[in-house]
Point group: C2
Chain length 183, copies 2
DNA sequence: GTCTATACACTGATAGAC
DNA sequence: GTCTATCAGTGTATAGAC
């Protein structure tokens, strides 16, 4: 694999595992096998490298969700399938978790791809809820953007509860509770 | 105010603002006005100080929620009041946000008070949902611990979406969406 | 493109004087 | 209890050779 690619992938892993503040250029170099000079040749510094990594993680997350939400089936079925798919719950969401990091939130270049990813997800879910309304799966009173936000928030918050508890259980409970409300 | 108290309160603020990894003993000293020697006289180090601060923040959060959830009114009214109260959304949850920090999650002494606080909240909400079931506010099919987990997750995830978006709007949407499902 | 050398502030403490 | 001195290690680069 090329150096740039190895740098980006190593940074993705480290951001997921340690957050932005907790990820040092030195750690990226060690993980990727690239030297100091090499890293600074390809990227201006930590922030630019992190931006590339976050954009990549966001793109991967969107691609996966797009696939799961684009299948045949009713709106409720597709939402259930998306919510129920296997996740590394205790590691947290590779993208959403970065929203807890003050340096990410403070830098538009870093917050941007996080925002885009979660906003895209809310928008896509809102489309599906709207389709469900047309098919009579949801009452006319349901507001698609609201329900979509609730779905994404429950997922993101489920990760928080699970990591706090050191157990996947509260994540599962939260998802099941949401599905009971929807179905 | 006594030195210990100033140290704890400054650490609470810094943990909220910067997270555990991003909070240095030196920053705590600056913020509290305590010197190096003073800080290390009262606390063995960063971890012990952080534990005291997290316990304090957790206690404050529980006290506030207990008050709001202990008022007169139906279950749905109390849950709505709790969800709708004013929050500093863009700062995130002072306790829940720490679950994104790998060093907090890895250290039982630090994760403990985070877990206790969120678990207590889930438990208290489950009691209220159970009361609501008895009064016919919720169908018998509702599982209290599941709905409680969904409520807390929506809140915690709402913070995540808001910080990612740099706007309180998705937080509001997620809460409103949840209330529509419940009511 | 990649390497090594250098730099300077900050991190998280410990030691001993007062 | 609080102060100052000291310290080895890390963070985040820049400079210049190869």
């Amino acid at each position: 694999m090329e150096t740039v690619e190895r740098l980006i992938r190593s940074t993705q892993e480290l951001l997921w595992e340690r957050g932005y503040v907790g990820t040092s250029p030195k750690a990226v170099q060690r993980a990727s096998g690239a030297g100091q000079g090499s890293m600074y040749h390809h990227f201006s510094g930590k922030a630019e490298l992190a931006r590339a990594a976050i954009e990549r993680s966001g793109a991967e997350m969107r691609a996966k969700a797009a696939e799961e939400l684009g299948t045949e089936g009713s709106a409720v079925e597709r939402i259930s399938a998306y919510l129920g798919r296997d996740r590394e719950v205790l590691r947290g969401c590779p993208v959403g978790q970065l929203a807890a990091d003050p340096e990410v939130v403070a830098d538009p270049e870093l917050r941007g791809p996080v925002d885009e990813t979660l906003s895209w997800l809310c928008g896509r879910l809102a489309e599906i809820v709207a389709e469900g309304k047309e098919n009579g799966e949801f009452p006319a009173s349901v507001a698609p953007e609201r329900l979509a936000a609730t779905i994404v928030a429950t997922l993101q918050g489920g990760y928080v509860l699970a990591r706090a508890a050191g157990s996947e259980e509260p994540f599962e409970l939260a998802i099941e509770g949401l599905l009971e409300l929807i179905a």
